[in-house]
């Protein structure tokens, strides 16, 4: 069999980056939730917030660890597998990645130790500060990575000298035309992902009638978040789509399955099998003109189709088309759940409706799947270009012996399959174990370094526990939450 090193390297990169992206898309959101809970605990002294923070910090830690080890691989793969690419774009992408490490990576790593292990070594305010720093680190990290990725999608601010990119304006490189949309879309996506992870596990506890007050708090909060975040994401996504149409029309045509060089009265396709050989769609089912309305915000607006560019400049259309539908479908599913939660809440049945709880449990991993699908739209949609319209992916691969890349690819598949298995096994174990009991939290004397604090805290805790044991005050607590 003839092995092609370019294909192998691309499969390897696609595989390792897909594996990696699972973890940051959870940790960015989860770090934010943990910071919110810890902050609320400091403010209200409600021990359930502390319980939420203390429980979710464990899944956060193993997820973060997986993100770290798989991320280090990526930072070297640019060079190992795509040496030409790193040579010609190093002057642009290198500094962006260096800034990521300087302003985010180190910060997360430096304060993570205190966040995880420092509960009894530093005061509670300093601990909260560490949590905030870790959270901010994950955001800043997203900022630089998305800036670098967006530049490859919509390159600006550069000149090419002797076949290599040089920067003319760093402002234009960083804040390139698609960057703001891509960044907000990604950050909100990971907030939603984490929200549904927490909601899903909370719903699971409620179904199993375990850790009930803890799970109610988690589910209720997350459904409020989802109610705000999912429509926001749809709006951002729409704007992002318009931006893609402006700067990467071929990608947009692949997302929507539009073949003619220019088409007006574009339908919104609900189902179709794009066929790259016949350059048309099989089994097309669509809503007339809705595509034009969404894409151009006018009833009969025209957009550029795939045939506007030669076949060798088109991405894999079915992959992009279907990934896009998976992402959007999950997004609307999530929005539906958030609305359903609101309706059930008004009837006071949010925590009792079993089919609803089962549905939310089912949605635990959906955020991750949507993020992956979204990235396939972005990355496959950009092909055959690595830097859009400037550098082809096929031109930048290291001239390695194919067997060598095949060997590492097989190793990655084995190791990562093992890791994801282990990750899920330990996640399951943590979830089965459940949150630390109030008694355990009490014994840990959080914030021992602040003198006199611990005793007072234990007293408040006992007071609170008495209150929450009465069903009436439980309801008033839910109300107080609703006011927030």
């Amino acid at each position: 069999m003839d092995l092609d090193v370019a294909i192998l390297s691309r499969i390897q990169f696609a595989f390792t980056v897909s594996f990696h992206i699972i973890f940051p898309s959870i940790t960015i959101g989860l770090a934010t939730l943990i910071a919110i809970w810890e902050g609320l605990w400091l403010k209200t002294h409600n021990p359930y917030y502390l319980q939420l923070a203390k429980f979710w910090i464990k899944p956060f830690a193993i997820t973060f660890g997986m993100g770290v080890v798989s991320g280090i691989v990526l930072s070297y793969e640019f060079g190992t597998n795509f040496s030409k690419f790193s040579e010609i774009t190093g002057a642009v992408l290198g500094p962006l990645m260096a800034y990521e490490v300087l302003t985010a990576f180190f910060m997360e790593a430096g304060f993570l130790g205190v966040m995880l292990f420092g509960w009894q070594r530093v005061g509670r305010k300093l601990h909260f500060f560490s949590t905030l720093v870790v959270m901010t680190g994950t955001w800043i990290s997203a900022f630089w990575i998305i800036a670098a990725n967006s530049w490859m999608q919509t390159p600006t601010g550069y000149k090419i000298i002797n076949g290599k990119f040089e920067v003319e304006s760093w402002m234009e490189v960083i804040f390139n035309p698609s960057m703001p949309y891509r960044l907000t879309h990604m950050v909100v996506a990971s907030l939603i992902t984490a929200t549904f992870v927490v909601a899903g596990i909370s719903a699971y506890y409620l179904l199993k009638k375990k850790n009930i007050p803890f799970a109610k708090k988690g589910l209720s909060m997350c459904m409020w978040f989802a109610l705000v975040l999912t429509p926001l994401q749809a709006w951002i996504g729409d704007m992002h789509g318009l931006n893609v149409q402006e700067h990467q029309p071929t990608k947009l045509a692949a997302m929507e399955g539009i073949w003619p060089a220019e088409e007006a009265n574009v339908p919104l396709l609900l189902f179709a099998m794009p066929n790259m050989k016949t350059e048309s769609n099989d089994y097309e089912v669509g809503i007339p003109n809705l595509g034009s309305l969404i894409l151009t915000h006018s009833w009969d607006g025209a957009v550029q189709g795939l045939k506007a560019v030669p076949p060798e400049d088109r991405p894999n259309v079915p992959l992009v088309f279907w990934s896009f539908r998976v992402m959007v479908g999950i997004g609307f599913g999530m929005m539906g759940i958030a609305v359903l939660a609101l309706l059930l809440r008004r009837k006071g049945r949010l925590f009792e409706n079993k089919p609803f709880l089962a549905l939310v449990t089912l949605f635990t991993p959906m955020g991750v799947i949507a993020v992956l699908a979204g990235w396939y739209v972005v990355e496959i949609g950009r092909q055959p270009w690595i830097v859009y319209n400037l550098v082809r992916t096929s031109e930048i691969v290291s001239p390695l012996p194919p067997e060598r890349v095949l060997f590492t690819l097989i190793m990655f598949v084995i190791i990562y399959s093992l890791l994801i298995g282990v990750y899920l096994y330990f996640m399951r174990k943590l979830i089965k174990k459940g949150p630390p009991s109030m008694a355990a939290l009490e014994q840990q004397l959080i914030g021992m370094k602040a003198p006199g604090y611990a005793l007072a805290w234990v007293k408040t805790l006992q007071h609170k526990e008495l209150q929450t044991n009465e069903p009436q005050s439980n309801e008033s607590q839910n109300k107080a939450q609703g006011d927030k």
């Binding site: 991320g71 280090i72 930072s75 790193s86 774009t89 290198g94 040089e166 012996p401 060598r404 330990f426």
Partner: protein, 336 residues
Amino acid sequence: MDLALFYFLVLGFAIFMYVLLDGFDLGIGILYPWFNQDDERDHLMRSISHVWDGNETWLVFGGVVLFAAFPAAYAGITSTFYLPIMLMLFALIFRGVAFEYRFKSDTSRPYWDVAFSAGSAIAAFCQGMLLGSLVQGVPTDVDSLSSLHWLTPFSILTGFSVMAGYALLAACYLFMKSRGRIQAHSAKLAKRLLLITILAMVIVSLWTVASQVDIRQRWFSGLNFLWLSPLPIITLVVAVLAWKDLHHHSIGENHHEGRPFWYAATLFLLGFAGLVVGLFPYLIPRQLTFMDAASPDSSLLFLLPGICIFVPLICAYTFWGYRVFAGKVEDYQEGY
């Protein structure tokens, strides 16, 4: 100062910080088989579980500085050493996840012990091999991407030497962070490793000057050796001082528990300085100098304020992080 030279120094600093910091935590994994009981291994793991992540970040930083400031060297080195780098990454994956999973495991604990220990040892060995084959030089012919030029007797020797050095750092770190049995055991191991490390440094140095003409000339032409002689002399003095501290402990007289670690770190600094003296100004020996590999000024200038502001800041909060967990490991036995 010349921008390219500045980045050459930053790169050197990043590599040194990595070797020093991840050196001792990789070393803990290398020493693992010499500590048998479960609670001893717990202690070893706990001593670094809050810092390993930050330490490993220096590896990423070294990589991206090379990528940003010297893209040609980054492309050349990483693709030429494809297999050893990939092996190192696989090893680092295993040891990295072992931190998270070992403490949460019951039945699978022995596997995580192996993953941590073997991962650390292999990662250290690959780094040593990379260093050795870089010193030997990369073949200029087109086959450099497909040959096994990085697998030579010399690079295998440097692989084991780096392992010994990391283990020495780790033994000295443990000596500082523990009491009683573990401390006594670390002192004993540190003494042995000190001898092995010095021996390895001598052999590697002699082999290098014997086989590499340009490095030999750098060291021995004219009065150069006179100027450079402090390097080997101070190395020996520091080694003797470290030995004394460790030895005094075993006869119950030592109160400087942190000192051997700093001596070991100094040994690394001196060895590193010797290497840079031999290779300057090459990034890929005899092929690519840092001047030739440098990015355009627009990129170097853009990154400059970032380096000047954040590197000192990173050092400050890293130091603070170590301070929070200062003292013996027993004193902060708690998970999260």
